[in-house]
């Protein structure tokens, strides 16, 4: 966090100078008074200036955006970042040219970037925040694809009466499969194996 220490005749004056130096407003900073001013005897003997420390407040959203922009500059990408704040999480929606590289194989790069982003912004936070990165609606498209796949395979399990094991998926993707099929009366789903190779299994429900 950027911070400055400023000494001036009064506390107000010192804070004002500090804010100008940081180019911030009062609600964007924490102010700590290190030394109170003292007029001294007859206005000169033992007079003391005020000393304040003004520190920029940590804003995870700003920090997150800066982190992503920095990484994109190293990758020579210039996506537009559109931030949508929901109750439990915030989505960083990216759009622009050549962003396929940010998605990677089955979203692997996107998941890695998102994981690192969450680590970095939560480093200094007691109340953790949750950030999701999406590239031009990739995540919602992937969600639809997985739901379709789940329904198709469920039908196959019902038709053949034999279980189907899906390929390894991350927890979020497995969750989509489980949720899609949770109300299906003829099959059940569970996961088996160890991360990162954990897979969903769809089995016919035993007839009572």
């Amino acid at each position: 966090m950027r911070s400055v220490e400023v000494s001036a005749k009064t506390v107000e004056e010192a804070v004002k100078i500090a804010l100008e130096k940081l180019n911030l407003t009062e609600d964007e900073v924490n102010i700590e008074i290190l030394e109170h001013p003292n007029k001294g005897f007859l206005g000169f003997l033992g007079s003391k200036n005020a000393l304040v420390r003004v520190e920029e407040k940590y804003d995870p959203l700003k920090a997150g955006q800066k982190f992503l922009e920095k990484i994109f500059s190293f990758m020579k990408l210039e996506p537009t970042i559109n931030i949508v704040e929901e109750d439990e999480y915030t989505i960083f929606n990216l759009s622009g040219k050549d962003l396929g590289i940010l998605i990677g194989r089955r979203g692997e790069t996107l998941d890695s970037l998102q994981f690192l982003l969450n680590l970095v912004v939560n480093k200094n936070l007691e109340n953790r925040v949750k950030y999701i990165i999406d590239v031009e609606g990739y995540r919602s498209r992937r969600e639809n694809t997985l739901a379709d796949l789940a329904n198709r395979l469920a039908k196959k399990v019902i038709r053949t009466g034999r279980k189907v094991v899906l390929e390894p998926m991350n927890p979020q993707e497995r969750r989509i499969i489980h949720l899609t099929l949770q109300d299906n009366k003829y099959i059940t789903t569970y996961s088996e194996g160890e991360e990162p190779y954990r897979k969903v299994v769809i089995v016919p429900k035993k007839q009572a």
């Binding site: 982190f67 920095k70 990484i71 190293f74 990758m75 020579k76 050549d98 590289i101 940010l102 990677g104 692997e108 790069t109 998941d111 890695s112 970037l113 994981f115 690192l116 680590l119 970095v120 480093k123 991360e195």
Partner: protein, 75 residues
């Protein structure tokens, strides 16, 4: 690529001043040797190497864009 690894590592650790990246250029691949303060090892490796894996995935994507192969080694 070196700057990217350096930036990622510095963002994750508690002692950014101890982050060093050494670039060793091979014929077809670039090796980036990352060293951090011993106290920060966990911050760049993570449980079951999860953080290290994420760093490698992001750096690989950046390198692929430039048609290069990069491996990140944590010393």
């Amino acid at each position: 690529m070196k700057e990217l690894v350096e930036y990622l590592a510095k963002s994750l650790v508690d002692h950014p001043e101890d982050v060093h990246v050494n670039e060793v250029e091979g014929e077809r691949t670039i090796i980036l040797e990352l060293s951090v303060s011993p106290e920060d090892m966990g911050k760049v490796i993570g449980k079951q190497g999860r953080i290290a894996k994420a760093i490698r995935t992001v750096v690989k994507a950046a390198a692929a864009k430039e048609g290069k192969k990069v491996s990140v080694e944590i010393l």
